[in-house]
Symmetry: C2
Subunit: 246 residues, 2 copies
């Protein structure tokens, strides 16, 4: 089986975010037939201890479950592994150290994309857990980009929205993001990082209407995977930005 | 790793249909958290010889590639394997014979669902290749359901629509299905089987507006997977039909 460039997706955190990532990867791939699409092996085995509960309350660590799934993807022949979940990137260094397979870091990709787009001040919508790890703060500082994070009730509303979405309530999830969205707009940010892979699902319409204003971490990761595959194969597959699918 | 009830998805035929299947499986699962979702391992490795070219023109058989991916899912611990592609079910008997893992047959599930819904005459939108195998005709006869298949230009339009979708042109794909849709309506069918997993993607809006009229094979397969998982675990996870996600 031709699997030299098989991309392993360590997903399930949550399952909806993983499905959204795959969807975006396919939409962004300029393939003329089934066979030209990038080969994927997707683990969406969601029985992984809650990342937030671990980071915020000292709950069970997800690391062991993450290592199991990493090993499974490696055993199956993955040549590159990505994780469509922002919070899980807290364990990225340990996962990377445990495998010889190449891994792409979602947080770094997003910070770099924001810098490359010329934004000087961005808002960050992310889980409490992602924020407490300082993942985005560190990466954005490295790339020299100022940032604003919602405070108090506005940040609580972000969390409510994410949990509503994980429970399947897409419509009510959307409403929760209204307050943090207003908060960041008042701070006059140039763009908003959707720093949790669940958020673009709830805000799909807003993102469609203002694609340059929202930085969708799943979309950035999908583009990074396509560029990785292009480098490996010499093919051109990344759909030109703004090209209409019709 | 808890993988006793891991569901293996032999996909990539095409990748968009696989993503659509995963999306529907997640939406139909009444889970209150990430961890309650059904564990999936998805092979979307699309370098599989074209099923239609094989069945219609004696092209390379996809069987060897299908067996490779089946083996990979079995090795990774799948307890049940499904194939979100109608045409590939021509090789279902050989695949089933090659594995000790349980497999759910999409075509049988659809024919049974149509019978259970009380439809006496249905239209079938499917690829030339699926139709030439007689998969649906045989299954529908077994369940005592009459059927109509578009002829001539109307069937050619079905094929044009499917290939447009596989090439990423969702909007123009939709237009191609207008003629076969009219054809089947004139034949006064009770419902239309979308017997190619690409079609519900092109007709998403039509299906949303008339959910009882269109039988979406990906949705039927997703429901079958959830029921399989419920039987194995004793959990209740199938979202009640018609329940609004809000």
């Amino acid at each position: 089986m031709e699997m030299d460039y098989l991309v392993g997706v360590l997903g399930g955190m949550g399952p909806a975010a993983t499905a959204d990532f795959i969807q975006k990867l396919i939409e962004l791939t300029d393939a003329g037939s089934d066979q030209q699409h990038i080969p994927l092996l997707v683990s969406s085995i969601p029985d992984i201890p809650d990342r937030g509960a671990c980071l915020l309350n000292g709950g069970l660590s997800p690391l062991s479950a993450l290592l199991d799934r990493l090993q499974m993807l490696e055993n199956a022949g993955a040549a590159c592994i990505v994780i469509p979940c922002n919070t899980a990137h807290y364990w990225f260094p340990q996962l990377k150290a445990a495998t010889s397979v190449e891994m792409l870091n979602l947080i770094d990709m997003v910070a770099q994309a924001v810098r490359d787009a010329g934004f000087s001040k961005v808002g960050v919508l992310a889980t409490d857990a992602t924020l407490i790890t300082g993942l985005y703060q560190t990466a954005l500082e490295q790339f020299g980009v100022d940032f604003v994070i919602p405070e108090g009730a506005a940040q609580q509303a972000v969390m409510d929205g994410i949990f509503a979405l994980k429970a399947g309530a897409t419509e009510s999830a959307r409403g929760h993001f209204e307050a943090p969205y207003q908060y960041l707009q008042q701070q006059k940010v140039d763009a908003i990082i959707l720093g949790c892979t669940e958020i673009p699902i709830a805000l799909a319409e807003e993102v469609r209407n203002r694609p340059a204003y929202f930085v969708d971490s799943n979309k950035i990761l999908a583009q990074a995977v396509i560029r990785w595959y292009e480098r490996k194969t010499g093919k051109t597959l990344l759909r030109p930005s703004g090209k209409k699918l019709s």
